[in-house]
Amino acid sequence: MSIKARSKDLWSQTVRWGRALPGKVSRGRDSASVRVLTTWDAAIIAVTLLFLLVAARRVEHFGTARNAGYIVLDLAPILLLALAMTLIVTTGEIDLSVASTVGLTSAAMGVMWNGGMSLESIMPVAVLLGAVLGAVNGLFITGFGLPSLAVTIGTLALYRGLAYVLLGDTAVADWPRAFTGWTLGGIGESAVPNVLIPMLVLAAGFGLVLHATPVGRSIFAAGANPIAAAYAGIAVGRLKFWLYVTSGAMAGLVGVLWTLRYSSARADNANGLELTVIAVVLLGGVSIFGGKGSLPGVLAAVVLLVALQNALRLAHVSTEALTVVTGSLLIVAVLAPNAATAVRGALRTRRRRTA
């Protein structure tokens, strides 16, 4: 009798749930399409588009071509760092040292410039230096088997410290106008920034590698279950090592970009940027535990965060609000899927019990 009463109670609860959710979750046929609509990266892309539309209509000066150009310039360093970070986080690791690598390559550029090297030779050397710094991370993590969180906290301090050793608190600012002008300028006379093309090429390249090649599949496999991946013949250690080298090289590239964009090589360039990069990667739907994620979601998250900052600034909302928004988004990005899973799980158990 009590069982009957209980099942009746559960039934009424299920009905209540059914009414609360307009999309019928109970049908097996619909659940696939519902899942596509509710995946995190689809949601974040939709939110980003919606935000851009609303902001363009509501915020003065937001929807102009000129402002779009500024947004692209602002998001370039975050986007370039987030590309490699997405791959690393997908393998279940993390790289907190990227912003310090940017600072160190920028400081090294300053020293080389003061030493009389030509900028044409400085730029490839800076990217190479970034790759070497990434290889040091990779060696400690995959070679010695140390946790990536601890290693990259160490190199976060070490690389930033070495940047200060190189340049102290001075700045090198006499970069040739031809190069700094190109970084800030647009294609021809249009408002499309020069940096947009290489950015898009790199983003497409990383997207293809992650989603359409065996390397990408092994990245997911290594993140989902490193032991199973190793048994499946994937050289997990070597894969991670080269990902750290890639991440370092991208940070070196960002170092070049940052120096030329602000026409200033300083040891504190990009200080604290690693937190923003991690925030967009997680906001883009990449699981911090590895094995899950997609590049389009991350790209949308980068655009969302930078455009949001830009719109708030144009709307004269204080920059303090930005810190709160970034932090909250970071937590919500992980909290929301967890809550969704919990609700879905609860629904499923209810359904199974009533059936």
Partner: protein, 341 residues
Amino acid sequence: MSALATTPAAKTGSTLLDLVLRFRALGLIIALTVLVGVTTAMNPRFLSGQSVRDLLFAAAITVLLACGMTVVVLTRGIDLSVGSVLGLSAYLTGSVLAETGMATAAAMLVGLAVGAACGALNGAIIHFGRVPPLVATLGTLYVLRGVIYFVAGGSRINASDLPRGFLDFGNGSLLGVPYLFLVAVAVLAVVGVFLGRYRAGRDLYAIGSNPEAAGLAGIPTGRRLLTAYVLSGSLAGLGGVLYAARYGTVDASAGYGMELNVVAAVVVGGVAIFGGSGTALGAALGALLLTVINNALPVLRIDQFWQQAIIGALILAAIALDRLVSLRAARALRQKGSNVD
């Protein structure tokens, strides 16, 4: 048979090395002694009363925060929000003091309460929301710093606004040891005893070693995690009170970037970043070592800009050393096992 022949030789050959490697506190004390000895040889005034007092002033807050961080790191967690919690607590306590002129002890309670609230927020997000500690506390690092900016705006609290007694507490000392350092040592003793002797403290080690096993063994992991984060937050809050007392001026940037130093101290102090091993004493010695390095650099005529690079190198060295120790321990266990066979 061959195992029997080789193991005793290997053991007797490396007892001293094993001792130093196994007990991080010993290694840290040796490192501290060598560093202080060399620096004093270069400049005898390094061990003068005033210089030692400056050192202890500088170390007090890091030691305090390192105790809280140890508790969290033991559970496989991390608390990156300590710098922001410290700043928030320093500013709020400072404003309450400036308004009411309350007693120092009451101010400490206010700071502890602010910190405990922030810690409870962290703990709730991590435990109930199932958000990894790194992400959750990175988020609250941002959010709480934003809250400080909202509360403080462009204004700041000056020493002239604070009660005389509070500032005396911040700058005074007993027999050459600053009050602030005494507070830190008292907290260290309490946390050390809690971790070493109390059931709830030992449970934290169990959770850090193997969360599933700890849960199956009947340990209330959720409640223990919440306790750990509330404790870490409270100590960061207390650190804020000490900060306000020491410096007198508090603005919105108080404690900015402090989390890195605290994590560095804990890792250098031999607390494994993946939980389950380490002591509060080790972490406190790590904090002391970092402070001594900091203060010794100008005496040794090394550019101050080397400071951060040295901290980074120390972190890498410390975790590499930990790895070495655990490899040796695993090998020793295996050899013992083969003896039994």
